[in-house]
């Protein structure tokens, strides 16, 4: 019996510089970090235009969003078309989901959106629990909510700070990271990891809170609450920041819904929707919190960069509210439910969506009675969030493109998985 021959990748053919056409057909080879520029002949006559340039932004660039490559076609100042090229961070998360048992797959899910790891784990564990019919004890649900909201605060602190950095305000970035350090230490003390935790497990959480940890949590919440007005003064109230972001990068409701944009970007476009309130999971239906969404009462246009930033600052406040309510309501009890040693859910499927800091993370899991999933499809919110700039960034200034991409707050880990 002959071994099936494994496919080999054919020898590379030389990349071609395509003349004109859609930017995503053009393979522009980076030469020494700066793209070889392909020029069209300038049109002479009545319509004397400047040359059209096709150039590369990324995959490495100082705006920290990750390994995103955007091929931009512009005539000098105005962007005429752009095409993001993703896939540089593809780590086969879904294939691994089909290859290892469920409990081994959960740590891989952390790494999708590495800035919101607790939230990712929460959704993925919920999917497995729903598929297997595992009940999670109430105290564990509250623990999950608390760490998820703390994670949301940390993620938004990061997003707001880095957005300031994109726009040239170096200082709020470091101030917000100071609070983030306290939060990372907090999550470190409960889970053992600063960024990637494996704390939320199938059936509950790994470890119960100690009184010491709860005190640390209170201190963290107080620190964030005290500093939040300062951050708003440095950025939101700053005249230059408003000039750079108000009316810039507008993504209206229609574009959001057509492209599947979710999270703060969707809410900034005026849509009053939050999965935690409108399709609650876990124990989110027991908390009272507001859902900030863009409106004409604040600076800027509904759906612009400023309102996206504003929505994030408001969400930090609401998360503080939720954590405080959760701490009051939390019952005593176990933190891990009954999970069979070999977890083999009956054949079936499940679709779970949750509100991550960047949008709606969803997991579509198909089980076939084995210890591994048959299909573990993950929807990273940033996947759709970054696709929308293909349409909305046309006609904007090159300088505004950085502001627009930064305000979407993407993490390439969940774009590429």
């Amino acid at each position: 019996m002959s071994e099936p021959t494994r496919p080999t990748i054919p020898a590379a053919r030389p990349p071609s510089l395509v003349s004109g056409g859609e930017p995503h057909h053009a393979s522009v080879t980076p030469v020494g970090g700066v793209a070889e520029v392909h020029e069209q002949q300038p049109l002479v006559g009545q319509d004397l235009r400047t040359e059209e340039l096709v150039f590369n932004m990324g995959p490495q660039h100082p705006a920290t969003h990750g390994v995103l490559r955007v091929v931009i076609k512009s005539d000098g100042e105005f962007v005429q078309g752009l095409q993001p090229h993703i896939g540089n961070l593809h780590r086969c998360c879904e294939k691994i989901g089909e290859s290892v048992p469920y409990y081994q797959w959960i740590p891989y899910v952390d790494r999708m959106d590495y800035l919101a790891a607790m939230c990712n784990e929460h959704i993925a564990c919920m999917a497995v629990e729903k598929a297997a019919g595992i009940e999670v004890p109430e105290r564990a649900e509250y623990c999950r909510v608390i760490v998820a909201e703390v994670q949301r605060i940390l993620s938004h602190l990061f997003a707001m700070g880095v957005y300031g950095l994109d726009l040239g305000a170096f200082t709020p970035f470091l101030h917000q990271f100071r609070e983030r350090e306290k939060g990372l230490d907090l999550l470190d003390h409960i889970s053992g990891g600063r960024l990637l935790y494996h704390y939320v497990r199938i059936g509950g959480v790994k470890r119960d809170f100690t009184q010491e940890w709860l005190d640390e949590l209170e201190a963290f919440l107080a620190a964030v609450e005290q500093r939040l007005p300062e951050y708003n003064t440095l950025l939101l109230s700053n005249h230059i920041f408003q000039q750079r972001t108000a009316g810039v990068g507008v993504i209206d409701r229609s574009a959001c819904v057509r492209w599947g944009v979710t999270g703060p970007a969707l809410r900034a476009a005026g849509v009053d929707f939050d999965v935690r309130r409108d399709a609650p999971y876990g124990v989110y239906d027991r908390f009272e919190f507001a859902v900030p969404h863009g409106h004409s009462g604040i600076a800027g246009v509904v759906g612009d960069c400023f309102q996206r930033h504003w929505v994030r600052t408001q969400e930090v406040e609401q998360s503080l509210r939720i954590v405080r309510q959760a701490l009051k309501q939390m019952p005593q009890g176990p933190v891990m439910g009954k999970v069979p040693k070999s977890l083999k859910p009956v054949a079936g499927e499940v679709y779970v969506r949750g509100e991550n800091p960047r949008g709606e993370l969803a997991v579509y899991m198909v089980t076939q009675g084995e210890d591994k999933a048959w299909r573990a499809r993950c929807r990273g919110p940033s996947f759709s969030n970054i696709a929308v700039i293909t349409e909305t960034a046309k006609g904007t200034l090159l300088a505004d493109l950085v502001a627009a991409i930064g305000s979407l707050d993407i993490v390439l880990g969940e774009v590429d998985r």
Binding site: V34, V37, F55, M57, H61, P62, A63, G164, L167, G168, A169, F170, T171, L174, H175, R178, L234, L235, N238, I240, F241, Q243, R244, L397, L398, A399, D400, V402
Partner: protein, 366 residues
């Protein structure tokens, strides 16, 4: 300076040498001194920037190399000297090599006319103010040359943007300096400082509303001319595309860097001289004696340090302006206001002349 050179020529040690040679040696010596002082100060301004930035960002900043990290610039300089000197193959070599020199020249040459104290001015020229504005404009062709010589489309475009910003902001800069020239009635910087001696209300920043507004316009225009935040978008956009000094490595890059910081010091000193009374401390005291002039130097140094701190403070607090807003600010805000200040200052001088007496002379700026 002239007196000092005469003294030097007449003294016993150098009496035998021809006068011209003594003058030349003295001039070279003075220039070297000023150059060394300016370079050292530029290095320390880098230290100040990094410490102040650190403190503003809830961290410490360099404090290891030397006491409180003051020798950091030596370590950085040695590191940059040790780097490989790469010149792009397609680059225009003579232009490439000349560009840093020209930018450096523009930044350092103007120190020659700054009055550090009473009589402590290397070249006491009657067109001192004009010369400073002219010499700092020499940087502009240097920047163009640097971008051009890099032979990269994006370096050229980036340098063009920076040059547009520098050149545009020279207008409000010059016009607000003109306010001081009007009030003082002279372009000689030593005389300008002399007329600000005495009490603090003699300072041109406080002599009427036009001097006050002109001070802020001058300082803002200086920030923009220096390409410092919040006007550093051409440099930041060079994260996306290559800026004018991307192709420069090692010591050549250090020269650009040094030129930027010494231009910062220069503009702070000139602002202090024009508006904040120069070497006079704000109350009547005689600083013309041989010891007093060095105290005056310390006073000027303190004012310069304060203005440098303000520049650093502004840089690390504010986000960047977009390029079109930068131009808008120059042409539609600073320029009209500075022209209005000139007209107002001229009127103020006329009114002062008509009023007469001590108050009239105060209004006139004398």
């Amino acid at each position: 300076m002239q007196q000092w050179l005469d003294q030097l020529a007449g003294s016993g040690l150098l009496a035998g040498l021809p006068r011209g040679l003594v003058y030349t040696m003295g001039a070279v010596g003075a220039c070297t001194l000023v150059l060394l002082f300016a370079s050292l100060l530029a290095g320390e301004v880098v230290w100040l920037e990094r410490r102040v930035a650190g403190r503003m960002q809830a961290r410490i900043g360099p404090n290891r190399v030397g006491p409180q990290g003051l020798l950091q610039f030596l370590a950085d300089g040695l590191k940059l000297l040790g780097k490989e000197d790469v010149i792009p193959a397609e680059a225009d070599k003579p232009t490439f090599l000349a560009a840093p020199v020209i930018v450096f020249m523009g930044a350092f040459a103007a120190f020659a006319v700054v009055p550090f104290g009473y009589g402590l001015v290397p070249a006491d020229m009657n067109v001192g103010l004009f010369l400073i504005l002219a010499l700092t404009s020499i940087e502009v062709p240097g920047v163009i040359m640097a971008g051009w010589a890099s032979n990269s489309k994006w370096a050229i475009l980036g340098s063009m943007r920076e040059v547009a910003q520098m050149v545009s902001y020279e207008m409000p800069l010059g016009i607000s300096a003109l306010v001081v020239a009007l009030l003082a009635g002279t372009l000689n910087l030593s005389d300008i400082v002399a007329q600000q001696e005495g009490w603090i209300w003699n300072w041109y920043v406080l002599r009427g509303p036009f001097g006050f507004v002109a001070f802020f316009i001058f300082f803002t225009a200086a920030l923009a001319s220096l390409k410092r935040a919040p006007f550093d978008l051409p440099e930041a956009e060079s994260e996306l595309v290559a800026g004018f000094h991307t192709e420069y490595t090692g010591f050549r890059f250090a020269v650009f860097f040094l030129a930027e910081y010494s231009a910062m010091i220069l503009f702070s000193m000139v602002t202090a001289v024009l508006f904040l009374g120069g070497w006079s401390p704000g109350f009547p005291v005689d600083l013309t004696g041989p010891a007093g002039r060095w105290i005056g130097f310390a006073v000027l140094f303190a004012k310069t340090a304060f203005l440098l701190f303000t520049m650093i403070w502004v840089r690390w607090s504010l986000p960047r302006y977009r390029v079109d807003k930068v131009m808008y600010l120059c042409y539609k805000v600073l320029l009209p206001f500075s022209v209005a200040c000139v007209v107002g200052a001229a009127l103020q001088v006329l009114v002062g002349d008509a009023v007469g007496g001590a108050f009239g002379r105060w209004l006139m700026g004398r």
